[in-house]
């Protein structure tokens, strides 16, 4: 265990969706080997001991895969390190005495539930609108009867690694969800299994995305730069292409 470090925290506190929030300041003794969330655990224990309300924040697997954790740290979703989620961010990325500002994902489509917790149900509804292959259980053919070239499988996999955390939306100045939608559309449009619904899928998903109140993409690239799974910007170009093709065909 390394040395102890003092971190000054400015944390967004908001009671619920209907109230306005404000920043509160705390000071925490941390260790460089702690994860950022473990530092919040320490803060919360401290708050409970002092008879105050702990900070609500979303987290679950703490190994960077569930997509639940969501903090904007000094203006950047999941903090300063590239390619990691908040739970995999360690305090060694900060210095003793640093002041760190922590905010929730901010977007109309992700209303705040409390403090740093937001509601990302919009993503589920986008998937429900078309992010699937319509194949009922039991109707599948033998797995090896669908041959998929390795490069296509790899491209589809790369897109499929999206964890649905919403960092893309939170980083985008327009709160656009194009990277999220693009990733799913790319995965399924690349694979032979996704061909049957290729056009209807992209149109349905884009319609739902717009209805949820996400902004339009202006290709700043902030989403891909902040994506903890490093989903490339090319999935957005692909989404555009798929959508226009579908529209051209009258979908």
């Amino acid at each position: 265990m390394g040395n102890s470090m003092k971190i000054n925290l400015k944390v967004w506190r908001q009671k619920n969706q209907n109230t306005t929030g404000l920043f509160e300041t705390y000071s925490v003794e941390a260790s460089p080997d702690m994860s950022f969330l473990e530092m919040f655990d320490v803060l919360n224990e401290q708050l409970i001991e002092d008879g105050k309300e702990p900070v609500a924040f979303d987290h679950d697997c703490r190994e960077g895969i569930c997509g639940m954790c969501s903090m904007v740290i000094n203006g950047r979703p999941h903090g300063p390190k590239q390619g990691v989620t908040t739970c995999q961010l360690h305090m060694r990325s900060f210095k003793d005495g640093d002041t760190v500002v922590v905010e929730p994902w901010r977007s109309n489509a992700f209303p705040v539930i409390k403090d740093l917790s937001v509601n990302r149900g919009a993503f589920d509804r986008i998937i429900a609108s078309g992010g699937f292959v319509s194949v009922n259980t039991g109707s599948a053919v033998d797995a090896n009867s669908i041959l998929i070239p390795k490069d296509i499988a790899d491209t589809a996999f790369e897109a499929a690694t999206c964890i649905g955390c919403g960092a893309c939306v939170s980083a985008c100045k327009n709160a656009s969800a194009m990277l999220f939608v693009g990733a799913k559309v790319t995965q399924l449009s690349e694979l032979p299994q996704g061909q049957a619904e290729r056009e209807s899928r992209v149109v349905a998903m884009v319609n739902q995305m717009d209805a949820e109140g996400f902004g339009a993409c202006s290709n700043t690239g902030a989403c891909a730069a902040e994506c903890p799974k490093e989903i490339p910007l090319s999935v957005i170009a692909n989404l555009n292409r798929e959508y226009y093709k579908a529209k051209l065909n009258g979908k």
């Binding site: 000094n74 203006g75 300063p80 905010e103 977007s107 709160a175 339009a216 700043t220 690239g221």
Partner: protein, 221 residues
């Protein structure tokens, strides 16, 4: 076709297609303007300018250009306004500089500056070339003379240079962004497009900006 004005992707398509047309226009415009560098008292330039204002094909295309420009402006401003509304509660700290370029995040602002410049620019030259010169063309009153006259004024020169700088940054993002919106993203072509975009965004506005400067300095007469 209503999706071009209702869906976020449709609206972006309008921006990209009109953007690419405007890029093409800029290239033509710049080539013609560059003819002043022959330093022949505007002779070559005037021939080209007159061709542009009298050829019916060009004049028809010009209508298309204006429609495109108008769409680009209206759709653009509308999108910027809409996008801003998607985040009512703003961040305390804006971490944008860590993940994107300032000009990619400022297309609305840059576009607006260009728009203001454009109003002035159209009044200076387009109105003159289309409505005044054709009615009273004389040896003394050519578009070239108009330029020389206007650029005597240092304020005009500064405004034009600022306009060109805005244009440069607007293009620096807009050029490659248009291709991304059109769905062109390829392992080997995209880097090529990006480099081409950078060269275009620097060279074209530079040529544009050089004209008022050299004219003001009297290097071209």
């Amino acid at each position: 076709m209503s999706f071009l004005f209702s869906s976020s992707l449709g609206r972006k398509l309008v921006m990209a297609v009109t953007g690419v047309s405007l890029i093409a226009f800029l290239l033509v415009h710049c080539l013609i303007n560059a003819m002043v560098f022959f330093n022949d008292g505007g002779a070559t330039f005037n021939v080209a300018a007159e061709f542009m204002s009298s050829n019916w094909l060009i004049r028809t295309a010009e209508i298309g250009l204006f429609v495109g420009l108008l769409l680009h402006i209206v759709q653009g401003l509308w999108l910027v306004g809409d996008n801003r509304k998607k985040r009512k509660s703003r961040y305390q700290i804006d971490g944008g500089s860590a993940n994107s370029t300032w000009y990619s995040r400022s297309m609305g602002l840059l576009g607006t500056i260009i728009l203001i410049f454009l109003v002035l620019h159209l009044k200076h030259f387009w109105v003159v070339s289309r409505f005044e010169i054709p009615h009273g063309i004389t040896e003394e009153h050519t578009l070239f003379h108009e330029m020389v006259e206007i650029f005597l004024n240092p304020v005009a020169v500064i405004v034009y240079v600022l306009g060109c700088i805005s244009l440069s940054y607007h293009l620096l993002h807009g050029f490659s962004s248009a291709f991304q919106t059109l769905g062109v993203n390829h392992k080997s072509y995209t880097p090529l497009i990006k480099s081409l975009g950078v060269v275009f965004s620097i060279v074209i506005p530079l040529i544009f900006a050089a004209i008022p400067v050299v004219m003001h300095l009297g290097l071209i007469k």
